[in-house]
């Protein structure tokens, strides 16, 4: 914890959420997250793509920052970034190694120089480290997060031969999508049992319509139709579609519509063609689109 002063420099991965990210709560997830954060219990977000997991984390980072600012007895200005909660997001991919998270030596003009990885930085600064799609990462990465998720709250850096205790504000949040159900890409139990899990699913039709309308700025009626389209397409999950239409997709359609693209065409390019390559399913979805949109 004593390291905080030493590592004061800013890095681009650090992200303070300045404005309130739009997020519509579907249940008590905000309260749970807040409680878990207060208790520093790591959080696992489950759910299909485009259900707002990332947005939720951003929203929570902002909300918790606000909370910190409000709690500040001196009423210090919120621009004092130290008192905000940074959010460091790492999108995991199959080539993501432990050193990508922890840090590595880089060659310098004078020799080598150590650069902290995003996880290390979050640990040092006491921010939220959000590992998106954790199952995609290589197996060795999951091991290094284990000590961070239990009472130890520490990060071992092999190459430096040091162990860093996490700053007080640090919290690990990971997400994964059980939808790609695949024996190979499942979280190990030793990992998953270190988190409290929040399940995400698509919001209900009405709420989704609100979200679409807000995010895309399209007419509410269009948003309602888009939301209906989303519901209908999600019915095809497991029947040819691996994933249902994400809210994000629908928002994109809404944006295109707002730009003046015709309803059907907008849905086709942002939903139908995006969601599948199977011509037959595309045709079926097109039929749904042409039913819903005149």
């Amino acid at each position: 914890m004593a390291t905080q002063q030493k590592y004061n420099e800013r890095n681009i991965e650090e992200y303070y959420v300045a404005d309130e990210p739009f997020y519509v709560s579907t249940s008590d997830e905000i309260e749970i997250f807040e409680s878990a954060y207060r208790q520093r219990v790591p959080i696992l977000l489950k759910g299909p793509t485009g259900t707002g997991k990332t947005r939720f984390v951003e929203h929570m980072a902002w909300r918790l920052s606000e909370g910190i600012a409000k709690r500040n007895p001196n009423g210090a200005s919120p621009s004092k970034t130290d008192e905000k909660l940074p959010l460091i997001t790492v999108a995991c991919h199959e080539d993501l190694t432990a050193s990508d998270l922890v840090g590595r030596y880089l060659l310098d003009a004078d020799g080598t120089r150590w650069i902290d990885g995003p996880l290390t930085r979050a640990v040092k600064y006491g921010g939220i480290c959000y590992l998106d799609e954790i199952v995609e990462a290589r197996k060795d990465t999951t091991v290094i997060i284990h000590p961070l998720t239990d009472h130890r709250r520490s990060l071992t850096i092999d190459k430096l031969g040091t162990t860093i205790d996490a700053a007080d504000g640090f919290l690990l949040v990971v997400s994964y999508n059980p939808g790609y159900q695949n024996a190979l890409k499942d979280l190990k139990h030793s990992t998953r049992q270190r988190f409290v899990a929040l399940e995400f699913d698509f919001p209900d039709e009405e709420r989704e319509a609100q979200i679409i309308a807000y995010e895309s700025g399209c007419e509410l009626e269009t948003a309602e139709r888009l939301a209906r389209l989303g519901v209908k397409i999600r019915n095809l999950r497991e029947h040819g579609l691996e994933e249902g239409a994400s809210t994000r997709m629908l928002i994109y359609a809404g944006r295109l519509i707002k730009e003046g693209v015709s309803n059907r065409r907008a849905c086709q390019v942002s939903v139908t063609w995006g969601i599948t390559d199977d011509p037959q399913i595309q045709r079926s979805i097109d039929e749904v689109v042409t039913s819903i949109f005149a």
Binding site: N235, Q280, S284, V288
Partner: protein, 1145 residues
């Protein structure tokens, strides 16, 4: 027998004398003939004639018969021939007689008639033609004689030239078979008169056929007689020419071609026939074998496209025909996808089968339930209460559609119609028509349902009443009752039989609802209109995109509605409702007397056609509409009794929307007193019009309105019953708790009461009853199928005859059950197949050793190939972001970059990738009986089945066989499979991949045999070669379960890449799995599905087949999977390792 008075003719006398030594008839006939001829012939001629006769008689022992015939015929013949020719005729006969007296007999006998049609100069030729058939045998002489005898008949239609050709043909054919030639002769006599003008052409064809494939001639004549005759002469000639051309180019089935051709030509319109034959000619010019296929398929093609469009299709085909005969044939057989597509793009009609998947997915998307889509015919065939084969309908889980739509001129519109009807039908499902719950309150109306007495309640009350009064009067036909349900105990007891406890009595809430009505038919019709309007309302609101087409369909539906003024009053009002529901605005004609009722009905429809309405609202609205309509006598009205109803806007809005269209209290009164004005009724107007009046004279029986085509059949009771089962399964009905199993009695009761059944019942009492009981039986079956206890999935209509039955349970050890994919139902049959896993018994290790020894060269080659694979496994992988050590080259580059000030590449490491190769592979060998076939038919000696007939030879043969130790002298497919595996196994050991070898066969779904030769995790030991030795052909080929089982085994192995290598000799087939028609496809689809599953489990399937005909079904089965069809099975041992290497590296 007076002697001649002209002794100067010695020959005559001599002849007479000589003839005396022959049997009497000879002389007798001589005398008769002589008498007639002597006056007509010159002396000299006459003498020559007599001498000729004598010569004939003397020629052989039996030739006197010929002589007799000669004399007989002479008189008639002489009349037609000049004397020179006459003698020539005689001489010809004599020379024939030299060959065979019977020929001469036939010649003379047929001469008189033949001469009528034969020019004298042809006599010789004629005799020669016939004589050519004679080859000294009895059969040939008989044939020859027949031709002589047939000549007069033949010449009636044939020119002499044609006759000669025919004779030539017979001669050619007779070289092969006298019987065939004889038959052909007979058939010719029949046929030729019917095809005059084309005889020569036909004979020419026949002759070629006789030369090329003489066995076909009989069929040729048969089919010509059967079909050619019907054709006009204009089309006969080209068709025959065509056939001839085809036969010349090697198509053997001229007969079939003629038959199909004639058939087709007869079926197309007269003015297109020439064009059709031209088309066929055009095809024949490019690809002869495709032409008959074209002729055969034309009627089918014309069902889908116009003749002109077919022309384009044919042109396209000709292009394809240039590629190869095979592709031409499959094109014109409508088997190739290109052909189908072409036809598809030409035709505007849409077949359900081609859009079924799209619609199914559309329905799934809209409802969120796996809705099945079937042809309407299928539901009618189930006979569970639906009768129309062509109307769209649903029973709650499946929607049924017409099998083809050809209402509009464009494809889009026709598809649009499909979309409209499917949207409407699934609307019933999506918007809950079948989720009707009697107890759920409606949203738009004051609920009357709980306040109305049910019919059975009334009946019960009545029974109680009767019991109480101890009346013995027989029940009247119509229930007449107006009392409150009885309260006293005695009555209640008495009614126990009639009034069963309320809830379990009704199978469905729908039934309970309809029980409220006396006139159930009317109630159903009203409910149908209102509920359909409600669905349409939802569709309009939620799916505005479909409305464009919807409106087109609706206006078409409106146009086909019957004229209101033709209908009696009540029906006219129901019709009015339908029209309102179809959005007819203007020109609304209603019975003048009932304008007010019409306004109310219209308001009801409007009210129900809103997004707020639920099915219970439709029910409430139905009660109101019913109460309005039941008061209206179904009288026949004159035209002038109809008037136009003012448009809605002009209607005085006395009743605002909030107000009920009818007074609920009145309705209750009316229902309570439904059948009878007997008691309490206060002379109310409503009460006055009860059942009695309704049944009264002068009134038409009420009959249901004509269905609206796009809405199809609506059977809420049955559908609710059927979908309830489905919903229970998916847990949607849990609040109802356990449902008692439905008994047959309950069903019967329901069917009896259900208004939707009535129309069939009334058609003849006897037949109706039987029909109903059959229907109930079918319905019971259907319900059982849906019972979640029985099955987790709803099975589709099964056409398997011997594959009935439910899922299997694996109880014994080493048995496994797997589902099977039913492509017609588009779903799995759970636990359908039982796989018995066995370890292959072990045999001798010799086969393994010998094979390796025999193929040393190949073994070495494979080894080398595989050795190349091994270094690949340990190759250093460079330019990694992370690895074992820095890659010096990369580091240097990076340092330089840094110095220069450019950002360096981060990939500075290398790593030895030991895990590069992590392969598990399972080989699955087809051990079906067909693998016992010799790999080359020609090489197969007449071994097993070619045992000699002669007992002595047989013993020798048997001994020689035994001495060979029953060893086959030819190679079977399975032997080659074994060889391939042997070689591969040998090399695989060097590679270190995990591999398993399995064989499969079986008989029926319960007995899929699965033999382990080497398990995936088993080490290669001596026992493996011994097991390989025992690989032998067994039974049938049910691929699906075997693939599933193998995939399951593979899934357990940890490896980065997994492969399933299927080695088969042909298409999947098994009892109930592959018979012709649908099942052939069933097997292919199931196999395909199992491969898809394997792929989903991360396994790469590969299929290697040696079936030369493999390409046709492999395309379907292995679509987007890899497969290879070996042109020569003997390549397998060589090819297998190659493939293996290519596939796994």
């Amino acid at each position: 027998m007076t002697s001649s008075d002209e002794p100067k003719q010695p020959a005559i006398e001599v002849t007479r004398k000589e003839l005396e030594q022959f049997p009497a008839p000879v002389l007798e006939r001589y005398e008769i003939a002589l008498e007639k001829l002597s006056g007509r012939l010159a002396d000299e001629t006459c003498q020559q004639w007599a001498t000729e006769g004598l010569e004939i008689a003397r020629m052989t022992v039996r030739s006197w018969e010929a002589a007799a015939e000669f004399f007989d015929a002479s008189v008639a013949v002489q009349r037609q021939l000049p004397s020179g020719q006459f003698l020539k005729w005689a001489k010809t006969g004599t020379s024939l007689c030299e060959d065979s007296p019977s020929l001469a007999v036939a010649y003379f006998k047929s001469s008189p008639k033949a001469m009528l049609r034969l020019r004298p100069r042809y006599i010789d030729d004629w005799a020669n033609v016939c004589r050519a058939l004679y080859r000294g045998t009895w059969k040939s002489s008989a044939l020859s004689c027949r031709l002589f005898e047939a000549t007069p008949d033949l010449l009636e239609t044939l020119s002499f030239e044609e006759f000669c050709h025919f004779g030539e043909f017979l001669e050619i054919l007779s070289r092969r078979s006298y019987d065939q030639a004889g038959d052909a002769l007979g058939a010719g006599i029949e046929l030729f008169p019917k095809i005059t003008g084309d005889v020569d052409r036909f004979i020419n064809l026949a002759q070629i056929v006789a030369e090329k494939s003489w066995r076909e001639t009989a069929v040729l004549f048969d089919s010509a007689t059967a079909s050619l005759v019907e054709l006009g002469p204009n089309h006969r000639a080209p068709l025959i020419s065509l056939a001839r051309r085809l036969v010349i180019t090697g198509v053997s089935d001229a007969a079939g071609m003629l038959r199909d051709g004639a058939n087709t030509v007869n079926r197309v319109p007269t003015d297109t026939r020439d064009r059709l034959l031209e088309m066929t000619d055009g095809i024949a010019a490019v690809s002869a074998p495709a032409a008959p296929e074209f002729l055969k398929i034309v009627p089918e093609v014309l069902e889908r496209v116009t003749f002109e469009q077919m022309g384009q299709w044919q042109l396209e085909g000709i292009q394809i025909a240039r590629e190869s005969d095979e592709s031409a044939i499959s094109y014109f057989k409508l088997e190739s996808p290109r052909s189908q597509e072409m036809l598809d793009s030409l035709s505007s009609s849409i077949e359900l089968s081609r859009v079924r998947d799209i619609i199914q997915m559309y329905c799934l998307a809209l409802t969120g339930r796996a809705i099945d889509v079937q042809a309407a015919q299928q539901l009618a065939e189930k006979n569970i209460g639906w009768f129309q084969g062509e109307l769209p309908t649903t029973e709650g889980t499946t929607i049924y559609m017409p099998s083809v739509i050809n209402r509009y001129t464009t494809k889009d519109e026709n598809f649009g119609f499909f979309k409209v009807i499917s949207t409407h039908q699934i609307g019933h499902i999506e918007f809950g028509s079948f989720a009707f719950d009697f107890n759920i309150p409606s949203l738009l109306f004051d609920d009357l349902r709980p306040r109305l007495p049910g019919a059975s309640e009334l009946k019960a009350a009545k029974a109680a009443d009767e019991a109480a009064k101890k009346k013995t009067v027989e029940k009247p036909q119509v229930v007449v009752f107006g009392h409150e349900p009885p309260a006293d105990q005695a009555a209640a007891e008495a009614t126990q039989e009639a009034a069963e406890p309320e809830t379990p009595e009704f199978l469905t809430d729908m039934s309970r609802f309809f029980d409220l009505f006396q006139e159930r038919r009317l109630a159903l019709d009203v409910f149908t209109v209102l509920e359909s309007s409600r669905i349409d309302g939802y569709v309009a609101e939620l799916y505005p995109g479909v409305m464009e087409m919807y409106n087109i369909v609706r206006s078409a539906a409106l146009e086909s509605r019957p004229d209101v003024t033709e209908l009696p009053a009540r029906e006219a009002l129901v019709e009015f409702m339908i029209r309102v529901s179809l959005d007819q605005v203007d020109d609304m004609i209603v019975p003048a007397e009932h304008k007010d009722a019409a306004r109310k009905l219209r308001r009801l429809i409007r009210k129900i056609t809103s997004i707020d309405a639920i099915v219970e609202d439709a029910a409430e609205a139905s009660i109101r509409a019913y109460s309005i309509l039941i008061d209206i006598d179904n009288d026949e009205l004159d035209d002038d009794e109809f008037e136009q109803l003012e448009p809605e806007e002009e209607e005085d809005s006395s009743g605002s929307d909030d107000e009920d269209v009818v007074d609920p209290e009145e309705v209750i009164q009316q229902f309570m007193g439904q059948p009878s004005p007997e008691g309490e009724g206060e002379g109310d107007k409503e009460e006055g019009t009860g059942e009695q009046e309704f049944e009264g004279e002068g009134e038409e029986d009420y009959s249901s309105p004509q269905e609206v085509d796009y809405r199809g059949e609506f059977k809420p009771e049955l559908s609710q019953l059927l979908s309830q089962m489905q919903m229970m399964e998916s847990g949607e009905m849990t609040e109802h708790g356990e449902m008692e199993p439905i008994t047959q009695e309950q069903l019967e009761e329901m069917m009896k009461n259900a208004p939707e059944m009535e129309m069939e019942q009334t058609e003849g009492e006897e037949g109706g009853d039987q029909q109903v009981s059959e229907m109930i039986e079918n319905l019971m079956k259907e319900l059982q199928k849906r019972d979640p206890e029985n099955q987790q999935f709803q099975p589709g209509p099964s056409q398997h005859v011997d594959e009935d039955g439910g899922p299997l349970t694996a109880t014994e050890p080493d048995t496994f059950t797997y589902p099977e994919w039913d492509f017609r139902a588009n779903e799995y049959k759970p636990d359908w197949c039982m796989v018995h896993e066995k370890i292959m018994t072990d045999g001798e290790p010799n086969f393994f050793r010998e094979t390796l020894a025999e193929n040393q060269g190949l073994v070495a080659q494979i080894k080398r190939q595989f050795e190349l694979v091994i270094p690949e496994m340990y190759r250093k992988q460079k330019r990694l972001e992370d690895g074992e050590e820095h890659d010096l080259d990369a580091v240097l580059e990076a340092l330089i970059d840094l110095r220069v000030g450019v950002s360096p590449d981060e990939k500075l490491f290398w790593r030895r990738n030991k895990n590069e190769r992590s392969v598990a592979v399972a080989f699955l060998l087809d051990l079906s009986a067909s693998t016992a076939e010799a790999i080359d038919e020609a090489k197969k000696p007449s071994d097993d089945w070619g045992a000699p007939d002669d007992p002595v030879e047989y013993m020798v043969w048997l001994r020689s066989r035994r001495s060979e130790g029953l060893r086959r002298t030819y190679k079977r497919i399975v032997d080659v499979e074994k060889e391939g595996i042997t070689l591969l196994v040998n090399s695989l050991e060097a590679l270190g991949d995990a591999y398993g070898i399995y064989g499969f066969s079986g008989y029926g779904r319960e007995n899929v045999e699965f033999y382990t030769i080497k398990d995936l995790d088993e080490k290669f030991t001596d026992i493996v070669p011994r097991r390989i030795d025992r690989i032998a052909p067994l039974h049938a080929t049910r691929m699906g379960p075997a693939i599933r089982h193998t995939a399951a085994k593979l899934a357990e192995v940890e490896a980065r890449s997994r492969f399933l290598f299927l080695i088969s000799d042909g298409r999947p087939q098994d009892r109930g799995y592959s018979r012709e028609g649908v099942e052939k496809e069933y097997a292919v689809h199931d196999t395909r599905q199992s491969l898809i599953e394997a792929r989903q489990a991360g396994i790469t399937p590969f299929c290697l087949t040696v079936d030369k005909a493999g390409h046709d079904y492999m395309k379907t089965m292995m679509e987007d999977f890899s497969y290879e069809v070996l042109s020569d099975i003997s390549l397998l041992p060589k090819r297998l390792p190659q493939l293996y290497r290519n596939l796994t590296t």
